[in-house]
């Protein structure tokens, strides 16, 4: 394959990677905590939450980092009769459904699930407000098992059930992992990159998904060589790198506000990493980072991604530089995220 073909292929690959989205639809009674759950899944406030009763007039849709969440309005209510509901909200478009419940199962939830089940759609049951699960003289384990049995007997299937509490912050790792397990291919990668990591294990998966993304973006940047690097015989596409770095920050939930707070952290390693994440975010910063790598003798390329990015591109000095630059930025952000998780730092 010529380098031009490879370049074309890798550009397409990057486009695919950037455009892959995961669509999740949530349904359940008002007040079950659907909006809170969306915010917790992505790790930032995108959906408005409140105790006052809202009247959902249309499906509310939120999009974050290639994840799309649709809060479906009440099935079979006056404004949204059952007839035509599935077509109206085009339920085939969704990769996955979450049935969110906080009290007991309602008729509309059971019925809507049955429609989904007929159409072989994946649906995970989320029993939210786990902190409110209580009964005089009954242990939590027994109550959980009863809840599981109750839901399963109601819907007549061995459905997957996850307990969460947005208030106490429990069960969110289970939920994000369960959703991940029900996705595959590019969608699974997208989920691992964009959903918030609540455990070291999920963080590690995020890392692997980002690794692959870095390899592709670095290859595309090297193949697209439009910005000559001063003092070196290579040219790369800096705009791709800027976007890559911003995607990495997004993946780890490192927005500007949070980063400037982290820069002031009392933990030295956190402050240093946050400083790096900010410093190398711009075109100038990336150039600086590239120059750091140019001075070094040994530059490794990660062999396992060569089949994805192509032999010709992988052999070039441009890719060696961009992939190392990308990985070093990923390293910093990942380490920072580990620190955040470990020290329970909040944005």
């Amino acid at each position: 394959m010529s380098i031009h073909e490879e370049a074309e292929k890798i550009r397409r690959r990057l486009d695919e990677e950037n455009s892959s989205t995961v669509s999740v639809a949530l349904f359940g009674q008002p007040g079950a905590g659907k909006s809170s759950l969306i915010n917790k899944i992505v790790g930032k406030k995108v959906a408005a939450v409140g105790v006052e009763t809202d009247k959902t007039v249309e499906a509310a849709s939120y999009e974050v980092n290639g994840l799309r969440f649709v809060d479906l309005p009440g099935y079979g209510t006056k404004n949204f009769p059952k007839d035509g509901y599935l077509e109206r909200f085009n339920i085939q478009q969704f990769d996955l459904f979450l049935c969110v419940t906080s009290g007991k199962l309602h008729q509309a939830d059971t019925e809507f699930f049955q429609e989904l089940s007929k159409r072989k759609k994946v649906c995970i049951f989320v029993v939210n407000k786990h902190d409110e699960l209580w009964e005089d003289g009954v242990s939590l384990e027994v109550l959980e098992q009863r809840k599981i049995d109750d839901i399963r007997s109601h819907v007549g299937q061995q459905v997957n059930i996850v307990f969460t509490s947005c208030r106490a912050g429990t069960g969110l790792d289970n939920l994000n992992t369960e959703i991940r397990n029900n996705l595959d291919g590019a969608k699974r990668e997208r989920w691992a990159r964009s959903a918030k990591a609540y455990s070291a294990q999920f963080l590690q998966e995020k890392r692997s998904a980002c690794d692959r993304y870095v390899a592709i973006a670095a290859a595309a940047s090297a193949a697209n060589g439009i910005n000559p690097i001063p003092g070196a015989d290579i040219a790369v596409d800096l705009s791709i790198l800027v976007k890559l770095f911003s995607e990495i920050r997004e993946a780890y939930g490192l927005n500007d506000g949070f980063l400037s707070k982290l820069k002031e952290s009392a933990i030295p390693v956190v402050a240093r990493l946050a400083n790096n994440a900010v410093k190398y975010a711009t075109t100038e910063g990336i150039l600086l980072l590239i120059k750091n790598f140019l001075g070094r003798q040994a530059i490794k390329t990660v062999a396992k991604y060569i089949p994805i990015i192509g032999q010709a591109i992988a052999a070039g000095l441009g890719y060696a530089i961009t992939s190392n630059v990308g990985n070093s930025y990923l390293n910093d952000c990942h380490e920072l995220a580990e620190q955040i998780l470990e020290n329970k730092l909040e944005g």
């Binding site: 009674q29 008002p30 007040g31 079950a32 409140g50 105790v51 006052e52 009763t53 809202d54 009440g74 209510t77 006056k78 906080s102 009290g103 007991k104 199962l105 309602h106 008729q107 509309a108 059971t110 019925e111 407000k129 902190d131 409110e132 699960l133 209580w134 009964e135 005089d136 109550l143 009863r146 809840k147 049995d149 109750d150 109601h154 208030r167």
Partner: protein, 217 residues
């Protein structure tokens, strides 16, 4: 002999007329167990002289726990309590218990409406709202469409209603104010209607609700 044909034509004509006008016989009216129980409730209440209080609300709002708690576990018979859907069940046994008593009052722990086996429509059509003296309306979380409809029907009787919001322990002070304001507005009730926050878990507010029931009603 032509007149011999008249009765024949008559018979044929009647047969044709019958065939056209005959309607499909109505399917034998199959009442669900829930509908039968609601009817039985109406019959039972008619002969009651004691004050009759209906406890209504969404499934899982905490109605049964509240009844047990506010009567110190002395209401007879004790309500069925459970975190599973339809713990209080009127949909499978046509002879199930519908009425409980405590200190000369009758309490009806109505199953949570709007579940698969207890559709809200059955309560809207068949619940004997007018046979009660007071309502205890238990809400948890946000108001549902069924809540508004059931509340309206209870309110139309002109009998006193106490709104009781459960799970007080998961609300902070700001939320408490906001919830009361929002619920009053959504149910269009003024400040004359009693509104109590309570928690079955901590017991807070439970005594207060019982006092309102005893003194006001």
């Amino acid at each position: 002999m032509w007149w011999l044909a008249i009765p024949v034509i008559g018979f044929v004509g009647k047969a044709v007329f019958d065939a056209i006008t005959e309607e499909d016989p109505l399917p034998p009216s199959r009442k669900t167990t829930l509908q039968a129980n609601l009817e039985r409730l109406k019959g039972d209440l008619r002969y009651e002289t004691a004050k009759k209080i209906a406890i209504m609300g969404q499934p899982g709002a905490g109605k049964s726990s509240l009844l047990k708690k506010m009567t110190n576990g002395e209401v007879v018979p004790l309500p069925v309590i459970g975190t599973h859907t339809d713990a209080t069940n009127w949909s499978s046994d046509a002879n199930c218990n519908l009425i409980s008593r405590y200190r000369g009052k009758v309490f009806v722990d109505v199953p949570g409406y709007d579940t698969q086996t207890h559709p809200a429509i059955d309560f809207k059509l068949n619940f004997p709202f007018y046979d009660f003296d007071a309502f205890l309306f238990v809400v948890h979380g946000k108001l549902h469409a069924a809540d508004e409809e059931i509340f309206r029907l209870a309110n139309r009787t002109g009998k006193p209603i106490c709104i009781a919001r459960s799970f007080l322990d998961s609300l902070n002070e700001d939320e408490i104010r906001e919830v009361e304001r929002d619920l009053r507005q959504r149910l269009s009730v003024g400040n004359s209607v009693e509104f109590v926050f309570f928690s079955n878990r901590s017991g807070e507010g439970v005594k207060n609700i019982f006092q309102i029931i005893c003194t006001t009603y």
